[in-house]
Symmetry: C2
Subunit: 512 residues, 2 copies
Amino acid sequence: MLPLHLQSESHIPLYVQLRDQLRALVHSGELRTGDRIPASRELAMQLGVHRTTVANAYAELESEGLIQGHVGRGTYICGAPARQFTPPPRSNGNGGSVRWETLFADERGEDGLSRLTPEVPRDAIGFVAARPPEEYFPLEEFRTCCNAVLRSDGRKVLQIGSSDGYEPLKSALIDFFRDEGLSVRSEQLLITGGCQQAIDLLCKAFLRPGDAVALENPAYPGALATFGAARIRTLAVAVDTDDAPGGRLGLNIDALESVLMQNRVKFIFATPDFHNPTGTALPLSERRRLLDMAARYQVPVIEDYIYGRLRLRAAATPSLRSLDRTGSVIQIDSVSKIAFPGLRVGWCIGPESVIERLRLVKQATDLHTDQLAQATLAEFIRRGHLARHLVKMKKVYRSRLDAMESALGKFMPEESSWTRPEGGMSVWLSLPAGFDAGELLIHARERGVMYVPGRYFYHQNPQPNTLRLGFASLDEKRITRGIEILGEVVKTEFRKRQRGARSELHSRVALV
Amino acid sequence: MLPLHLQSESHIPLYVQLRDQLRALVHSGELRTGDRIPASRELAMQLGVHRTTVANAYAELESEGLIQGHVGRGTYICGAPARQFTPPPRSNGNGGSVRWETLFADERGEDGLSRLTPEVPRDAIGFVAARPPEEYFPLEEFRTCCNAVLRSDGRKVLQIGSSDGYEPLKSALIDFFRDEGLSVRSEQLLITGGCQQAIDLLCKAFLRPGDAVALENPAYPGALATFGAARIRTLAVAVDTDDAPGGRLGLNIDALESVLMQNRVKFIFATPDFHNPTGTALPLSERRRLLDMAARYQVPVIEDYIYGRLRLRAAATPSLRSLDRTGSVIQIDSVSKIAFPGLRVGWCIGPESVIERLRLVKQATDLHTDQLAQATLAEFIRRGHLARHLVKMKKVYRSRLDAMESALGKFMPEESSWTRPEGGMSVWLSLPAGFDAGELLIHARERGVMYVPGRYFYHQNPQPNTLRLGFASLDEKRITRGIEILGEVVKTEFRKRQRGARSELHSRVALV
């Protein structure tokens, strides 16, 4: 028996765990050239996993040249060809940060997933991203604003600035909020380097290692990474995705109450509008219950509003911040989803004392946010470009969401289900029970379709059959084609499994 | 006797401590309207402080309307006029961050010191800042570069990017380093949001609460703030400022060794080139000793190179990074001092494994540094503007440093001394023994001259008679005039003290 220990609760796909452990056994010398390893069916039974898991791990090790199959004789170790394969992903000992790094774009491929799976076809249909498509960036308007501020205030922009933000940006945002019906004073507003930094600053200002935060499960992996790095415990609150009539949506408030009753919770972290990854929006009545509960248990709420302005259907629901009467809500927000992710500019709105504390923490973190970005954005907002761009993009996204839902209805097998978001950038798909979206990705990738397996978003009880489909950066045609292919892959695997189940039944019958 | 407790070791000036404690006694009701408080001479004797300390505290309370003097009758409490005065500075319970916030520029005054001292004359001569003067910013070149990158790569610049940095900036920096004789690979380079963020990332990546870092004393207050916020212990290593022939300069390596012998130290943090605040540069032989010691004790070194390129006199000394043969040095750097502080762009150079770890931490902190700033800076470097700007600014600073040294020689009393920096942006002045630079600032400010008292830079054994004079942002005429005034203020106070000592002597003689 090989010393293999797979953790089904882990965020790392089982086949990746198996592949890495087998490779480690070769490198440590426990497995040597010429050693025979078990057939995939045999090892799958030993480990209590699906045979596909073992087959996938073997396939990757074979492509690395580490093992070789001989027809009729079995599978053998062929030695460790030093450094001919990509280094093993650092899947252990690095806490949350490693798991989610694969989710963000980098220069080395369309997205980080390509590190694990380098052979993505060039014209792959990537449902991975949840970000604005750069072909719609209003570049001329942006460049004009940039020139204007450099001409009029260049010296001020390029000189050291305030930790709470560049004053013209704060003013422009306050006016923008006023047009949306929200009154914010300058002392209640801190400019940050995006929502990610807002979470980091909140951790530093108010949380200590071992403190607990109640958080949707699944959740934004960036939040999990930041809390993980600060050694904050995340307490899972289920997210309801059932939008049948009378069904519930978003953070389950009853589940939240039982978490609050049983734990000393420092913050509730919630994304009531178009929650990433599920796309759900919390109904008004549940928002009110959440705020009542927060006040009753005296636990402040961090409201992630990053998708809040991307409502594509139905009437708007007021944000927690605008419903708050007790000063319990800190809202974090950014221009990443509504305009330019490459500009690292976001903000926090909260009670004055909180903002003052965050300002001091911000100062000890990076002095202040880049002023060229702040000043240009201020002008972009002041001239009305942001409001106009938002109107335009909502039409684009609306049409893409329609295309995705119609394709899902047409091509996905009946045994699967998905959320019907009223906004945001992603749909949450549940494959037929027993499927592992991480393993299915291998087959989907071969057909040129990519997505993010649900595992990456869970901090407890991962549901392996779930996955996130981003719809914002693909046009309708590619969305339809991509979902069609994904539907075929799911159906093919579904049939294989049914055949496998039948043939297993036959073998058992034959053995009897 | 009033319950007053002044801490002479504190970073808070004594008169500020006294003022705040007296005010607190009024607010708590322990002192009431009509209560008589001791005469300044009397209270000074009780507390064992100089009479000026009490006089300064009383003067501020009087201007707040909290106390009033009656000729021949003494000083009385006149009640607490609610909110007519500025809120007391939050001098307790906030660790390092509060102390140094007063050092950085903000929109509300020439610098943060104006919060403590709002009545700065409009044409004050501020030796407070250590930053490039904005009137020399090459704005046209910068704007041209900004336009060029937005025209050619706008979509890429404004889309989400890599946590390790925008590739064209990394390339431009690597070429820039090559021209300086230093070979750096992309895997050894991480772009940060400035040096301040580099320190924050290093804390997160490698330090835990209670860990210790050996650090110059005095030191950059921003480093102290970040370490303080992360609850890292800072171990003080003395800085030699004696540059008489045969004298020593910079971090005292013998003192460092005794710190390393007696403590488990995680990092040595050093600024060998034009140390802030003293302006000293560590000689080559001492750099070699530092590196040997780091290797022997296996303690990595963080080299703050932010002033490294601002050598104004004498031949260059190689950086620790370029002398390092054992991979012990992580160099942190930024464009704040050599170009544009308002662009929050800096970098770390270190071993690959360190950079990879920092990249993951950076990702969980703010995803990546703003790309508009990175791209524009890349173009600014690529076109040779940075190198040319640096040559120009070094001439400007050289002439300002000359003016400052010549004025100090001409106007300061013999009992004072100062460092003779070969570069950087500040001179460190030691007033005659017994002076408190924090208290002298009140008089200097009245005459329209500002500086930073040395206390703000010490993390142990503050030397109250020291102060920092930044010379980079003032022209020669204002430098000369400012030092002339400062010299007069020092001489006046010096004479007052001599008279005071004499009259005290007379009183004692009379009493005998």
